[in-house]
């Protein structure tokens, strides 16, 4: 690895991964960690939590994908089985290459997982011959064929250990790119299938399905169809179609946009060689919804995100990439940051462990608890005589902390079922006052007291207008949600709700017979309306009607409806307060949205400007500190040059610039302002100036211009 090169350039050195691993993750974590004492426990907690989150999300992903993957597997099986028919029609039919067009949505980073599980499933249950290719590695036809061959022949070496020696031979000439043709593959395939069936399929061949097929198909997965060169793809398909008689080939196209791209990329002469079937995967928003449902809105994980962090992560998802994988990465970052920067995160774990950990807290940690804003608030609320021991007696504090931790866990246990209930009630209302998705409602609830929200009021008003069957079905759904909860309060709430539902049922049987007595008072003015009357009378009649309606006695259903809604309202008011109102919430909630934003949604230009404007921000050198936003003259040359250039117009005179630079630099060197040499340009200063200016040019702030001699043009606006 040397960088001696004739041409200018950047050199990328990939760190050799193995060496790095000697410095364990733990050491990295502990390094620079706040409160180093329990950093080890915190690291373990963090690690455990992340592992759990990871496995859970992977499981979730697999679950979500099962449906589409199953249909794809069916398709491959069907294709490979129809191939072996020999009736008239299949003989007459042009042999097309079966192709599955898999529409996955624009969230390209997520596709990797899907393809991985797809190819694993295919290997397990359909065929050992699966190759997946990406556009970036197949710039030319040659490379595409090479990759396909490598993957197919190579995978077989790893899959069947017993055949290693034999397969070595056909793969050896691969190094000579001469043999990179499909006929090599063809030979290899016939040899391979013949062998595996002349030898009885051994014990090592685990899957029974494979043996049913005379010829397992060869599946080639094009991960990102759009990015492929159309020409390369067309030629490849043409070649493949020449071998389709001998090789049971099959394609899977991963499509990010819409299936019509196939028609854009392939002319009819090529697409007529394919038998394309469409498979549509779950949309990424649905995917995110399930992930949030299983990952965020659950008491399963003690680690929580506060409203702002959630907002950042969700807006990155919605505004920028649609990628669930990146969302989970964001959660991981927050998790890491939380355990790294918050010493009290030792308490962020299961209830039992947390209660144990409370007892292990040292004096310093307890002091930290005392400094927590939420705890301060708690203390202030206590009686004066109780405040004293809280602030001085450590053992007492530990006891209180245990209680508070229990309360926090209880809060979560109540929060999520109530949130879900409220969501089921409001998610079908017209115009969605509280959001269509549960995540929106969650965000509102995290922000402030939801019941003080205007939207909440309007949602309640709308709920008061619901028809009976609608209301009952919604309440039934709520009851179902509450059933899953184990806490006492939720159970009693469930009982109340069920009682109410029973009352609704009774209404059906009782009220059906006697007609509502209010009927008459309404109908009479209506009848009056049909008579002739002048405008004044009409107005009067209408007013009367209104009055009578308002004063009208509520029907039993309406009474019950109000009761039910009041019950829901009380549930919301008692359980859906924002986490900030809970004491010790800082333990579980990660709140630094700025950090998350800075890491995940980097703004290169802003940081360059920040560096140039205030070098102290990055260099952390006290000499560079400046109060009023001006740059000290000891700053790096480029900062000075940048600052000076902000004072210029669109065209900058290089000489003036140099003079100004020399003056500033001389002052920094501590030269006497009155001496002759002050501000004089010497060779060193000249060189430094030129270097700084070319750096600015490289960063894209100025460019050379031919409009005026000895001038450069500014490319940015603004400045002093």
């Amino acid at each position: 690895m040397s960088t001696s090169s004739v041409s200018k350039g950047c050199f990328v050195f990939k760190p050799s991964a193995k060496k790095k691993k000697t410095l364990s993750l733990e050491d990295h974590f502990i390094h620079g960690c706040e409160g180093a004492d329990e950093s080890k426990t915190r690291f373990n907690l963090c690690q455990d939590l992340w592992d759990q989150i990871k496995t859970d999300t992977e499981l979730l992903q697999d679950e979500l994908n099962t449906k589409i993957l199953d249909s794809l597997l069916d398709f491959t099986r069907k294709c490979s089985s129809t191939r072996q028919h020999s009736d008239w029609a299949s003989h007459m039919r042009a042999s097309e290459i079966p192709t599955a067009a898999l529409v996955l949505g624009v969230n390209v980073p997520d596709h990797d997982m899907t393809f991985q599980s797809l190819s694993e499933l295919l290997r397990q249950s359909v065929t050992p011959h699966v190759a997946s290719v990406q556009a970036k590695e197949c710039g030319a036809l040659k490379h595409l064929i090479k990759r396909v061959l490598e993957r197919l022949l190579g995978t077989d070496v790893t899959v069947d250990d017993d055949e290693e020696e034999e397969t070595e031979q056909p793969s050896a000439p691969l190094h000579k790119s001469v043999h990179c043709s499909l006929s090599t593959l063809c030979d290899w395939y016939t040899m391979n299938t013949k062998k595996s069936y002349s030898l009885t399929p051994g014990k090592k061949r685990s899957s029974p399905v494979k043996d049913d097929l005379q010829q397992p198909p060869i599946v080639i997965i094009f991960k990102d169809l759009e990015a492929f060169n159309a020409r390369v793809l067309q030629d490849f398909i043409l070649i493949c179609s020449r071998y389709i008689e001998r090789l049971p080939l099959m394609f899977i196209f991963g499509i990010a946009t819409s299936p019509s791209t196939i028609q854009h990329m392939l002319p009819h002469s090529v697409s007529s060689l394919l038998c394309i079937e469409l498979f549509q995967s779950l949309s990424c928003t649905q995917h995110l919804a399930t992930v949030i449902d299983k990952l965020i809105l659950t008491t399963h994980f003690p680690f929580k995100l506060n409203g702002k962090v959630m907002q950042v992560l969700i807006s990155i998802f919605l505004y920028h990439d649609f990628s669930v994988r990146n969302f989970i990465k964001g959660v991981q970052l927050a998790l890491l940051e939380h355990f790294h920067s918050q010493p009290l995160s030792v308490l962020c774990c299961r209830k039992k462990e947390a209660l144990l950990n409370v007892m292990q807290l040292g004096h310093r940690d307890l002091e930290k608890i005392r400094q927590l804003p939420s705890f301060k608030r708690y203390v202030e609320k206590q009686e004066p005589q109780q405040q004293e021991p809280l602030l001085t007696d450590d053992t007492h504090l530990k006891e209180v902390c245990r209680r508070l931790i229990k309360d926090l866990h209880k809060y979560h246990k109540h929060y999520y079922p109530t949130l879900r209930c409220l969501h089921t009630l409001t998610s079908s209302l017209p115009r969605y006052p509280l959001g269509k998705q549960i995540r929106e409602l969650h965000l509102i609830c995290l922000e402030k007291n939801v019941w003080e929200n205007e939207e909440y009021q309007s949602a309640m008003k709308l709920l008061k207008m619901l028809a009976k069957d609608e209301l009952i079905s919604l309440l039934k759904k709520c009851a179902e949600i509450l059933q899953h909860s184990k806490s006492k309060k939720m159970k009693s709430a469930l009982l109340l709700l069920e009682a109410m539902l029973a009352k609704f049922k009774q209404l059906d049987t009782v009220v059906a017979e006697p007609p509502p007595p209010a009927e008459e008072s309404i109908t009479s003015p209506v009848k009056n309306l049909q008579k002739k009357m002048d405008l004044f009378q009409l107005q009067k009649a209408l007013l009367e009607m209104n009055e009578s309606r308002r004063s009208k006695k509520l029907s039993p259903f309406e009474v019950l409806r109000n009761e039910a809604l009041q019950f829901i309202d009380s549930l919301v008011q008692s359980h859906l307060s924002p986490p900030e109102s809970q004491t010790l919430y800082e333990v579980c909630y990660y709140s630094s949205s700025a950090t998350v934003r800075r890491h995940l949604n980097a703004a290169p230009r802003t940081s360059i400007q920040a560096a140039l404007n205030s070098p102290f921000y990055y260099l952390q050198n006290d000499r560079l500190k400046s109060e009023d936003g001006s740059v000290s003259n000891a700053a790096p040359d480029i900062c000075i040059v940048y600052k000076l250039h902000l004072e210029c117009g669109r065209l900058i005179n290089l000489f003036d610039w140099l003079e100004a630079f020399a003056t500033v630099v001389s002052a920094a060197e501590g030269n006497d302002p009155d001496s002759d040499s002050f501000g004089k340009v010497d060779d060193v200063k000249h060189a430094r100036f030129i270097r700084a200016v070319s750096e600015l040019e490289f960063l894209g702030f100025i460019k050379s211009t031919k409009q005026k001699t000895d001038h450069v043009a500014r490319i940015t606006w603004g400045g002093c």
Binding site: A89, V106, C275, P604
Partner: protein, 446 residues
Amino acid sequence: MMSALLQQPGYEEERLQTVSKKLPCREVQAGMLLSLMGQPHQYSYPSIFIYGHQSSGKSHVLNVLLKELELPHATVSFVECVSVALLFEQVLLSFFGCDAASLLPRRPSLSDFVRIYRQQSSQSPAKQTRYIVMEKAELLRDSDANLLPALLRLQELVEDNVTVILLSEIVWDRFRPNTGCFEPLLLHFPDYSKGELQHILAQDRNPSYSDEFYSAYINILLGVFYSVCRDLRELRHLAALNFSKFCEPLAEGKVKETDTHKLWRNIEPHLKKAMQTVYLREVSSLQWEQMQQMEEKESGAVRGLSAHTHVELPYYSKFLLIAAYLASFNPARTDKRFFVKHHGKIKKTNFLKKNEKTSNHLLGPKPFPLDRLLAIFYSVVDSRVAPTASIFSQISSLVTLQLLTQVSHGDQIDAPKYKCAVSMDFICAISRTVNFEIIKYLYDFL
């Protein structure tokens, strides 16, 4: 009369008979070829160029001739030859066995090939004319400049009885290199006429039905499809796909085999539908077969490929795409009018140039620099957006999704230029989802 055409001394009569049986409607061409080839031991013309449309029987005729008459030949499709080495190797392999092929060096040049060929042929000189058949010869034009001229006079170069036959879909005029070359003999394969198609297609009848019945079916099929498709392969495919539907009333016992009119009435709408769906590969042949078994109502559920045009995009990507569309279809000087709030008075006559108006959409998208895209983007998005890295990465992912295309070369990183590659309908659908009235911002529709 048929066998009269295929007569050539030096070949067995029986074989010629089978050949002519296997080549219906191509007797003239086959006869011509045969007479060009002469007797097996005679030298043939060095190179023959055969052209004709897709599936006009070029490869088929040659394959049948060379196989049935057992002549030494090498058939290579040029599309497969990702490098010329593959071509050389295949030729040597089929003429002299794999030992000869392995003599080729790692990156063989044309002269390597000639050298090894001569060496081998001196050891085993040709007793019969050797034939090299090159399919998809039009791709030869893209490979090395010396390859085509060399192949055309390979006979001279290797001093062996060898003939190169080039098959192509385009005419020889398009091949001729400007440095000049040996002129091959040209042979044209005309398209099959309707009668010929009928004749050929009727030959592969279903064994369980009578000749007349199948021939009637082919007649109906050609009546529908002949105007759009003359590709034999495709027609045969379509015939196979739709035959079961054609036989349906027969199986139900409603119609007799001879009642062509009723059969026609039954199949005609079905074939029309096939023309719009399965012929265009909107619906795959497997799905089509399933649809035939389903009831009429259910089959509506299967939608074609182009029915799915909806694309979900992240919020900012939508606006980036809208901005790109505006930049592509509006003249740059009108940006001020559209996107600056207080743009002052712009003279109407100056603003609306007559011939420029309405023509932008006809002329297609124009390239625009990145700066302009971002400037429009920031003024179009309703909220303040920080210029973060993910905004830029979205632009490049739009490029990989082929919604934008990069016009400038990939190496040029300081001022990349793009074009918007989406249709008007697409962008309208996108802008509707973000409540942006794009029509108001398009110069053409002002």
